[in-house]
């Protein structure tokens, strides 16, 4: 049963803790989906090309900036997305050709230094082009308001659209990797790049395409986050750390692992923030409980990561074997 609500008419009984729990699950799912879009690209690049790309968040930022600008100019959110995707992919491929190609043979420290430098480069570039002021981007009119998917739990339509888009992308990636020639080549390149090259696969082109695909997904995450978040220089860094946690938990190089890790991190982070204070208040005084809960919620995903690494050092769903 789907009903549309006007903003002002949202009235429901929030004393039901079960419904609040379901809403927080949806919040966790939505954060997880955003993390999946970012970590899918990052884990591909890391797993296949053996490159640590700290600048991945910059493509998220580019997606958001281009999306916000085009949406503001044309008034169409769809056009904003359609502009943001090629912009992020193109920026990624240019970076791959100009910078990363020189780094494949170097060790990880050089890659970290170079891509860290690119973070600063892109942050300053956005300031030069768009100024220091954050950009404005709003939810498109046809996605405002809330939908009651489960009776008693109205949920913002836009966030549901984000979840749906994430699921579609997940399905698309699955088909791409299992059913297409290029997907097969990417998997071959990941398993053994010399052998794949010897068999006639153009590894250089393949790497550029993989990198472009990764940054395209980051750009998609960025443009979809635009209406919810502040579009500002440096917006990619705050989410980048969680993205790295996701790929470590999921298993480096594994798309399925990225999906599992992203959902797990999204849920643990959200549910920790939402329910730790309530749980701790059962044992401690309110002020004390809130203080500890705030600290523990910040740590929760890292505790999760440590626990998983102890039990499964290669992550939940490692890429090869």
């Amino acid at each position: 049963m789907i009903r549309r609500y006007r903003m002002s008419s949202i009235q429901f009984n929030w004393y039901n803790p079960m419904l609040l729990f379901i809403e927080q699950l949806l919040n966790g799912l939505q954060l997880g989906i955003t993390l999946f879009l970012l970590s899918a690209g990052l884990t591909l690049v890391f797993g296949i090309m053996q490159v640590i790309n700290l600048a991945h968040g910059s493509f998220y930022m580019i997606g958001a900036y281009v999306g916000a600008t085009v949406t503001a100019r044309t008034g169409s959110f769809i056009l904003g997305i359609l502009a943001a995707l090629p912009a992020a992919a193109l920026a990624g491929m240019i970076v791959e050709v100009l910078v990363l190609r020189r780094l494949y043979q170097k060790d990880h420290l050089d890659q970290v230094l170079a891509t860290f430098g690119m973070i600063m480069f892109f942050n300053e570039l956005t300031r030069i082009i768009w100024g220091r002021q954050p950009l404005f981007m709003d939810v498109p009119p046809w996605l405002t308001g809330s939908i009651e998917l489960i009776p008693g739990v109205p949920y913002p339509s836009y966030r549901i659209a984000v979840i749906a888009a994430g699921i579609l992308v997940g399905g698309f990636l699955y088909l791409l990797f299992t059913r297409t020639r290029i997907g097969m080549q990417i998997r071959a390149g990941a398993s053994n790049r010399e052998m794949a090259g010897a068999l006639g696969v153009n590894i250089r082109l393949l790497y550029t395409l993989v990198f472009g695909l990764g940054t395209l997904l980051a750009g998609l995450a960025g443009v979809m986050a635009g209406p919810i978040l502040a579009v500002e220089a440096g917006m990619g860094e705050s989410i980048l750390i969680l993205t790295f946690v996701v790929i470590v938990i999921g298993g480096i190089g594994s798309i399925r692992g990225a999906l599992a890790g992203a959902l797990l991190v999204g849920l643990v982070d959200t549910l920790g923030r939402a329910f730790l204070p309530i749980v701790l208040r059962l044992f401690l005084s309110a002020a004390y409980a809130d203080g500890i809960a705030a600290s523990m919620a910040s740590m929760s995903v890292y505790i999760l990561m440590a626990t998983i690494l102890v039990c499964r050092p290669r992550g939940l769903l490692p890429a090869h074997g």
Binding site: L20, N27, P134, T144, I228, L229, A230, E232, S298
Partner: protein, 389 residues
């Protein structure tokens, strides 16, 4: 021929040197111009520079030279700049620091080296209380002031169950503390979020479940934009009003929040619509010079410059006698854009503090409208902790 030209230029340079009869007074500005908070420093610098430009390179009739450097929001870098200003440039007057943590790292060091520091923004409690110093002046506000005014307003308006939200770091707790000092009702919840958090969906769902009758938040910069957008998307801005200090509602941030901020009431010591001659003149001049509405930060930069101008005029541009310069600054004999201004015993402002409402004006710009002065001649609670020698 070429060599002759160079020699000629050198002689000309030598002759030109003594022509500058008075060495301009150097003012060292350390502020934040890079990072995403860079617009704050930009506003302070532009406000300060405007005052100098209006006098044709002088302040109070005394020629001045403004040195500006970017601290990148980093205390270590700000310390280096301060050292350089003192050692290399012989600066005797400094100003400009945006962030309290940077101010705490720099100010106690420079004021001990016989340098006057006039804060145009940061007003941490440490420097107002135990750490106060005769060489330290604050022309903006004490950090708690803008929260105290909201606490008083919310109490007077009859709200009895308020939900509090701030980032989990020292300034977050200070700001909520300032609010609670004047708020007498119940607290529906007090939540400390991660610093730099972007998604507030979980907090907003919990907030709605707590059913407060109002929300008070301190989330500076991008965090505030995120929160306000998501709060409006959840439909809560229609039912539960939001309050906060002015930091999330300056005219530049509002352009990134737009409708989601309309109707939010916030506390500030200044607004562009304050009706006094100095302010009308300042706002018009700023708009002409920079093509935008000044924010409170710009007004603080402008007032800092005019305060220094009044003092330089009294001492005739002589900054070698610090006792005289301090006494002149303490008088605060300048036409402030706030209408009236004086210093408390710990050299912080005694001023009126207002509640403003975010509105969309006739031209479609998002801006603040002053509702009323909640405090008149308001000082700060740290005066009693300040033992100045």
């Amino acid at each position: 021929m070429k060599r002759l030209l160079i020699v000629g230029m050198m002689i000309a340079a030598l002759l030109a040197g003594p022509a500058q009869a008075v060495e301009p007074v150097k003012i060292g500005m350390i502020t934040t111009l890079s990072t995403k908070a860079g617009y704050l420093g930009e506003e302070i610098r532009d406000g300060f520079q405007l005052a100098i430009d209006q006098e044709g390179g002088k302040l109070g009739g005394v020629p001045v030279k403004l040195l500006v450097d970017d601290d990148g929001r980093k205390p270590e870098k700000a310390k280096q700049i301060a050292e350089r200003y003192i050692k290399r440039d012989g600066v005797k007057i400094m100003t400009g620091i945006v962030f309290s943590n940077v101010a705490i790292a720099v100010v106690p060091k420079v004021v001990q080296q016989e340098v006057i520091y006039v804060s145009a923004n940061a007003g941490p409690s440490l420097l107002a209380g135990k750490g106060c110093h005769k060489n330290y002046f604050n022309v903006a506000y004490q950090n708690d002031n803008l929260d105290e005014v909201v606490g008083k307003y919310v109490t007077d308006a009859g709200f009895k169950n308020v939900y509090l939200l701030a980032p989990n770091y020292p300034a977050g707790k200070d700001h909520l503390g300032g609010f609670k000092r004047y708020y007498t009702g119940a607290i529906a919840g007090e939540v400390y979020t991660k610093l730099g958090q972007s998604d507030y969906a979980a907090e907003i769902a919990a907030l709605r479940a707590a059913k407060p009758d109002a929300v008070f938040f301190f989330l500076p910069g991008g965090m505030g934009i995120n929160f306000l957008k998501q709060y409006a998307q959840a439909g809560l801005n229609q039912t539960t009003p939001v309050f906060g200090p002015a930091f999330s509602f300056d005219e530049r941030l509002l352009q990134a929040v737009k409708d989601a901020a309309i109707g939010v009431k916030n506390g500030s010591q200044w607004s562009h619509d304050l009706d006094n001659p100095a302010n009308r003149q300042f706002v018009a001049a700023f708009k002409t010079a920079f093509g935008r509405t000044p924010t409170l930060y710009a007004s603080q930069g402008y007032d800092a410059a005019r305060l220094l101008g009044s003092a330089l005029k009294q001492v005739g541009g002589d900054v070698s006698n610090l006792d005289a310069l301090r006494a002149a600054i303490r008088k605060a004999d300048f036409a402030t854009v706030r209408g009236k201004f004086s210093f408390s015993a710990n050299q912080h402002p005694v001023q009126d503090i207002y509640i403003r409402e975010v509105v969309k004006d006739a031209d479609g710009n998002y801006t603040n409208k002053t509702l009323k002065a909640v405090f008149t001649d308001h000082s700060n609670v740290y005066v009693e902790h300040c033992k100045m020698d």
